[in-house]
């Protein structure tokens, strides 16, 4: 049941035979480096999804560790940001947001809890849908917007397209490059190379990472999301490490260019500016948040509403949440299975940490796909 071809030869990104050639190359390269394990980090939940979903780790050479960094925008949404959304919802303001944000715990409540108390929280699948909700009524609609530069661009686009006056944005958007900077500076992480997210690089271009790679002596390769994309990018990354080539390379050339989408970049920075801000579990990331510029004050929920979160923030952290290792997991210091709560007290049905909430979160993905059990019979 393959997709109908339109006369163009079907591109096969899911060819197990080619995957075996690439994993053989990986084994040879790791062996040639004469030091194991070699640790590579990706910064994207969609990469982790693909790696876990296709069982790729069961076919990687034992000396190669591929770990996930801060690549889940929902997971790094700070407690305070969730509290703002919850407070607005409890004040009676209609909230539109992406699905994963609904279950994300705040200091004492999630949007789902607010919903159970009667607040109106609507799940949308695009920024445009949030605007449509506002157009269909007179009452204020706040789009609680989260995501990295990929979704921030779509938020920027709707603001530039003159949304109705009853529409505003509560931005929890984050910007990935500063977080890579923060991880690279941590003395405990021994990340020798980064895989950058292909969809984000469609917008930013892979040239953005050149300066970073040079300064940190850590090559960066932009990767797509099919199993072969990821394996090919890992091969490229190991080759660059072997050759001490501290630059940025593009292993997703069918979508990504060096410059990226200049029009989208212009839209992004016309609407947003970067600001220091807390990332859940990690701490303040300099320039890691995307906040609306002053010119857009009329559409900025933070300036438009008085958001009182004081009632939500009194509760002390529970004993359980103090034992949660999400922060260390998100910077690649430990793996989900190192956490004593993983799969026991912390499961998707009743998550303790944010990484178990979002489908982009490392813990949720590991839980969903069985972590890394030895199942035998892999390729």
């Amino acid at each position: 049941m393959s997709a109908a071809s339109s006369g163009v030869a079907e591109l096969k990104f899911r060819d197990p035979g080619r995957a075996r050639e690439l994993t053989t190359a990986l084994a040879r390269l790791v062996q040639g480096l004469h030091r194991a394990p070699v640790t590579l980090m990706h910064v994207c939940g969609t990469h982790e999804q693909a790696i876990a979903r296709f069982g790729l780790r069961s076919s990687l050479p034992p000396g190669l560790r591929v770990i996930m960094g801060p690549g889940c925008p929902v997971c790094v949404t700070d407690l305070g940001e969730v509290d703002e959304g919850v407070a607005l919802a409890l004040q009676g303001v209609r909230i539109a947001t992406y699905g994963d944000m609904v279950k994300l715990p705040g200091s004492s409540k999630s949007l789902a809890d607010a919903q159970a108390e009667g607040a109106r929280v609507e799940v949308v699948y695009s920024a445009t849908q949030a605007v449509e909700l506002a157009r269909a009524s007179e009452e204020p609609v706040v789009f609680f917007a989260s995501g990295f530069e990929t979704t921030a661009v779509t938020t920027a686009a709707i603001l530039l397209a003159k949304p109705p006056a009853n529409f505003s944005v509560l931005s929890a958007h984050k910007y990935v490059p500063p977080a890579m900077e923060a991880v690279a500076c941590l003395p405990e992480t021994r990340v020798e190379g980064f895989l950058a997210a292909g969809h984000a690089a469609v917008i930013t271009g892979y040239g953005l990472f050149e300066d970073f790679a040079r300064r940190h002596h850590t090559p960066v390769v932009v990767a797509g999301f099919e199993p072969l994309d990821i394996l090919a990018a890992l091969v490229k990354l190991l080759e660059m490490i072997r050759d001490r080539d501290y630059g940025a390379a593009n292993a997703y050339p069918r979508c990504v260019t060096r410059e990226g989408n200049r029009h989208a970049q212009a839209s992004l920075w016309r609407v947003f500016e970067s600001a220091d801000g807390p990332w859940r579990g990690i701490g303040v990331i300099p320039n890691g948040n995307l906040q609306l510029r002053k010119e857009w004050a009329a559409l900025d929920a933070r300036r438009r509403f008085r958001i009182d979160v004081s009632g939500l923030q009194q509760k002390a952290r529970s004993e359980l949440s103090r034992r949660c290792l999400c922060g260390k997991i998100m910077v690649g210091l430990v793996e989900p299975t190192d956490c004593p709560l993983f799969g026991r007290e912390c499961v998707p049905e009743s998550p303790v940490g944010a990484c178990m909430v979002s489908s982009e979160g490392t813990c949720k993905i590991w839980y969903q796909y069985g972590g890394r059990p030895d199942l035998g019979g892999g390729t």
Partner: protein
């Protein structure tokens, strides 16, 4: 087993482990001997009568939207109950009941449309509605309409969902995920290209053909409704105390469903079907059962998707072609990812 909590949540109706916990802890445990037969938690009950069994099942139907590409709540209510009977091996329904609870203000024209599609589904299944009940509640006291149907049928041999043994092969009777994605697209007005159409259909004819070919070599059956193929396989693996190795490349998925699943980040293996059966067959009989299934209009895309092993009882191991991993059971309501 997970904790129950203080109040009923949406996840308790989603077909996964939370729902099983609710049923086990509240109903099966609490009804004691008076609920004998409930403990099997199969698609229906089998009451010994003479030299066979009277199979009885009931189901309530709520769906948003009421009308969706490929069907509506009426067709669903008939097919769901016919299929629950068929999965027990009872393919000749003696009679169905139909109870509806309607919200005041509901359009008569919609009610007639639902009735018409119930009648059409009954004709397809060779079934008759023999009794019913109608209640009306105030506006806002329920959402539109709730339909309950029950069905009764006679079976010489009951096929439980617990009969898998090591070495059995697993067949699915066609493409998976069609119903769930069609309803999701209609519910959320997703602008997806390609036709997403529910597969809702009565399976008793198809199962009858499979039974004629496979007889007692058919070891277990289940319809992969809520929770999709994944939930059905997990339940069958747990009850049969076997591991199931699923070969992903063999699972039929229509290209438009594949596209929607990639876009939304929802696995087609987790999504509901209303016109498919998972059938466990002893290895020797697999080919002839597959042959008759493929000769039936509702089984044209039937495929062998895996087999049962002694290792890891209760688990479903997915072979992706790139490696192996555990297949997860879906949790709660499926929500599309954000990036």
């Amino acid at each position: 087993m997970s904790k129950l909590g203080e109040t009923v949540a949406q996840k308790h109706g989603a077909g996964g482990s939370a729902m099983r916990t609710l049923i086990e802890k509240v109903f099966v445990a609490g009804l004691g001997p008076a609920g004998a037969g409930l403990a099997a938690m199969d698609d229906g009950a089998a009451i010994p009568v003479g030299d066979g069994f009277l199979v009885l099942t009931t189901d309530s139907y709520v769906i948003k939207p009421l009308f969706f590409p490929g069907g509506d709540i009426g067709r669903l209510a008939i097919c769901g109950t016919i299929n629950d009977l068929a999965m027990m091996g009872a393919t000749e329904p003696l009679g169905l009941t139909c109870a509806v609870i309607i919200e005041a203000g509901f359009a008569i024209a919609d009610l007639e449309r639902i009735r018409d599609s119930m009648r059409a589904a009954c004709v397809e299944a060779g079934a008759t509605i023999v009794t019913g009940d109608t209640k009306v509640m105030g506006k806002g006291e329920l959402d539109g309409i709730v339909v309950n149907t029950a069905g009764v049928a006679f079976a010489k041999r009951v096929v439980p969902d617990s009969g898998l043994r090591t070495g059995d092969r697993i067949i699915v009777t066609g493409s998976v995920g069609d119903h769930g994605f069609a309803v999701m697209a209609a519910r959320h007005k997703l602008q997806l290209q390609g036709e997403l159409v529910s597969d809702v259909a009565p399976l008793n004819g198809l199962v009858r053909a499979a039974q004629a070919a496979g007889g007692e070599f058919i070891s277990a059956m289940k319809d992969p409704t809520r929770g999709g193929l994944s939930s059905a396989l997990h339940e069958m693996a747990a009850k049969g105390k076997v591991g199931i190795v699923l070969d992903e490349a063999c699972v039929p998925v229509r290209p438009e469903v594949r596209a929607a699943s990639e876009l939304l980040g929802i696995d087609p293996l987790h999504v509901a079907n209303e016109g498919k059966a998972v059938i466990g067959v002893r290895a020797d009989a697999t080919d002839r059962v597959l042959q008759v299934l493929r000769a039936h209009p509702l089984g044209r895309d039937a495929a062998i998707i895996g087999g049962c092993v002694a290792e890891r009882p209760g688990s479903v191991i997915l072979d992706t072609g790139f490696g192996r991993r555990l297949l997860a059971e879906p949790e709660g309501e499926l929500l599309p990812r954000i990036c």
